[in-house]
């Protein structure tokens, strides 16, 4: 465990925002509610782009159209989820740092982010060749599977984290 990182987490917890999140009666419940709603919106939409990449759903609709129509809503959900998640973190940073499920959640989030970057910078560049194909090429399908696995892990680890945050 990196000591300096743990001390940084302790300092984050000691900020006025961290104290508010931890000690206010309604602040924490409302933040968690917003976080869950943001997650349901973003992941609930992203999975449909992933299923299109896998050739499972909306196979008659071009991938680029599915992306254009659905992703703006998902981005709003991601923004809400990240902001509320970061705010919740300030209240429990040191406990979260020691929690194994939080680490799993962060790794899964990083995997989802890298997967999205690889998709946009590499796979999507040749989309004009497979945009209308009912079954996109293997790299696109792999990106879809990785995204579904990563987000499922984020949700499961997130819930496990909330049940085990203060366990020794």
């Amino acid at each position: 465990m990196a000591e300096w990182l743990f001390h940084l987490c302790e300092q984050i917890e000691a900020t006025s925002l961290g104290v508010f999140v931890r000690e206010s009666i309604w602040g924490f419940p409302i933040l968690v509610g917003i976080h869950i709603v943001g997650l349901v919106f973003s992941v609930g939409i992203v999975v449909w782009l992933d299923l299109r990449l896998l050739g499972i759903s909306m196979t008659g609709v071009p991938v680029s159209r599915v992306y254009r129509r659905l992703m703006p809503l998902a981005f709003v959900g991601f923004g809400v989820m990240l902001l509320s998640g970061a705010t919740i973190f300030t209240g429990f940073a040191a406990s979260a740092y020691k929690n194994p499920y939080f680490r799993v959640k962060l790794i899964a989030l990083a995997l989802a982010a890298v997967n999205a970057i690889v998709y946009h910078t590499n796979i999507e560049r040749r989309i004009d060749k497979w945009d209308r194909a009912p079954a996109p090429p293997v790299p696109a399908r792999v990106a879809g599977i990785i995204s579904i696995v990563a987000w499922t892990t984020v949700i499961l680890a997130g819930r496990m984290m909330s049940y085990t945050l203060y366990m020794p």
Partner: protein, 182 residues
Amino acid sequence: MREQGVRQGDPESQVPSPERVDYSSVADMSSLFSAIEKSTVAMAIRDSTILTGGLSGLHLIGLTLLLGSALVSSAALAGWIVNDQPIAEVTRATRRASIVGLCISVATGLLLVSFRLSMSLGTRAFRIKMLTLAAAAVFHFTVYLPAARGRNSVVGRGLAGVLAFLLWFGVVLGGCAFILLE
């Protein structure tokens, strides 16, 4: 003779008053809830953080699938995704996914409240969530599904999609309220 003996020894066989019937049914429900709460499965869930957390995660995955399906489906019904293809083709996967999401969230939800059934039913947020869930399920099967299959529906396609989404969103909000207020 035997029947008489049973009647004489059984105070419940006296002339029933409405109050008595009510109390007895409440007692029956209480004993049923108590039996569910003390069942092996409920006790195992109560005593295991891994099981409770895992079920909670699966419950959220089910709700995510359900609400995402409702959102994408309502966009499709409103002609937002595509308007030159049969609507049943576009919404086929979302219809199936919404049923899968509903099954996952109901099954895991029942398991999650199995060890605190009486307490949960006494919570206003839980009762509101259950009422919203019932309304959403009835609307889903009677209005939304026919519209999503391209059949005649009592309301327009776009409106059916929007209402279905709002009702399922209400279930998620009720769930959040229940988690946070219990």
